[in-house]
Symmetry: C2
């Protein structure tokens, strides 16, 4: 791990930013071109507009970049993983659109813009989410996305991470938990389901697209699981300490709503220590991979750098 | 077509009812067993309860029965198509849960019971829909559901029929169309997207699971497309003429809302003629199939029998 550790000293953040910028641009271009040719002239313009508004409205593209880095880490081709990276971003976008709805978090602002339902109304925001979930699986099952066996494994990996025991399940815990029920175990479970599983699946899907063997896919999953836990802890921390301009939504909104967050349960210093511990575990999981895994390692380090 | 025509005389309705009852029982049993073992002890009980409430709450199971009939029509095994039939019913259930939401049709009653959001609240109803879409693709991509190439074809067929250009797109037209914009073409397009495509995909997916060649799959799709158009026309008719006990929701609710319906655009007699014309086209599409396609033909005839 010496080479990887040396790289942390100075250039990591810069390296990851440059890498992430280039890969994010590829994802953005792919998504824009894909949506432009979808259902053209079929008369569903308003729904398509609502989908595109949130899907093409910027964002870090952290999950797709991780899928690409996961693919490249195992020697795969960046171009080939783009449809999978795009599908992953579609599913992430669904969680943003639906979580912002009045019945859920009731947010007016997302990524410095009006939320989907503020622009298109609740009905279209609900349908845009439904259609984006479906679009992800349409893309993942397209004949030119991947060989059938690979596509099937990718779909199973991603569906497992975003449904009942994944993102949707985590959001249900987030919505249903009363402030006096919040404890360490529940906070961990919510973060695991809502965030970590999907980030793990993104890295693992990248590895699958890169043709990795099952052990390597599992290593990428462990990597992503730990990055995901750290990612959510840092998000919780930034929600307490950050500024609205940086995170693009109201500071303190989670704490005000009495939600399960790491700072609320563990305090800030212990939350920071736990985040760092998860990043160490993530790096250990991909320690045996070669230099091609550097962007992946840089991504992991970047997650805690955000909090500085 | 003589054998098929002869069968219509007396026993068709009885035959289809018996066939549909037996296949519906298989789908119900499969869904109940599947949901019982899903995410057991993982702590997502409330979301699972909301999903199960609507999924296991009865219904005609018309689409899954059609998938089974489509599989059997091409010589396939009824048992093997059950996971696909179950996934189809999950996706249909999503449309019921989400269409009933206050932001959409705002219905309190569905299948003679309180709608999902009336029991579980809007947030959980939205998430139950999201999780059921995802669950369908989790099931369709499971290693023991189908060989990878078949599974990918089924997923692509179904995703195409339920997303932007399918069920979600159709519902968006239903929501957005102003009463003075309703005309023949738009009514047809809405029905096509909202109902016919998914019924077509159900029959085609059944044929795919039965190992049919592309021409036969296409014939089943044409069959389902026409059955679907007739199905929606008859639904429109029953909404005007039927009684609430029979259809399980308020009579006249579509007409009151100024929606695109066949009786509103064409009048009742012409609507009935058009429905019959679609059933004739459906029967013609599967005319060349043998006796194994009888349940399929009976299903088509049953659609217009409902209106008598």
């Amino acid at each position: 791990m010496t080479a990887a550790s040396d790289a942390t000293t100075d250039l990591t953040d810069l390296d990851f930013t440059a890498y992430a910028d280039s890969r994010r641009a590829m994802v953005d271009d792919y998504l824009a071109a894909y949506m432009a040719r979808r259902a053209d002239g079929e008369g569903f313009d308003k729904l398509k507009e609502a989908m595109s508004y949130s899907l093409l409205g910027g964002g870090k593209r952290f999950r797709p970049v991780l899928a690409i880095a996961g693919c490249e880490a195992v020697g795969g081709d960046c171009e080939k993983v783009l449809p999978v990276a795009a599908a992953i971003e579609m599913l992430h976008t669904v969680s943003l659109i639906h979580d912002d709805l009045p019945a859920m978090d009731n947010d007016d602002l997302r990524r410095h813009r009006a939320t989907n339902h503020k622009v298109f109304g609740e009905a279209l925001a609900i349908l845009a989410g439904d259609a984006l979930i479906t679009e992800a699986y349409l893309l993942l099952s397209a004949p030119d996305t991947a060989p059938p066996a690979t596509a099937m494994a990718v779909i199973h990996e991603i569906a497992h991470a975003t449904g009942l025991s994944g993102m949707a399940g985590g959001q249900s815990l987030d919505m249903l938990t009363a402030p006096d029920e919040i404890d360490e175990a529940l906070t961990r479970q919510t973060h695991h389901a809502k965030t970590a599983r999907f980030i793990a699946a993104s890295a693992a899907a990248g590895a699958l697209m890169g043709g990795a063997d099952p052990e390597t896919v599992a290593a990428l999953r462990t990597f992503g699981e730990n990055v995901g836990q750290a990612f959510q802890i840092v998000d919780d921390i930034l929600n307490v300490t950050g500024d609205a301009a940086r995170i693009g939504k109201s500071v303190g909104s989670d704490a005000n709503a009495g939600k399960a967050t790491y700072p609320a349960v563990h305090g800030l210093p212990e939350s920071r220590r736990l985040a760092a511990e998860h990043i160490d575990a993530a790096l250990a999981a991909v320690q045996h991979l070669g230099e091609a895994a550097e962007p992946l390692r840089a991504a992991a380090r970047f997650v805690i750098e955000r909090d500085r």
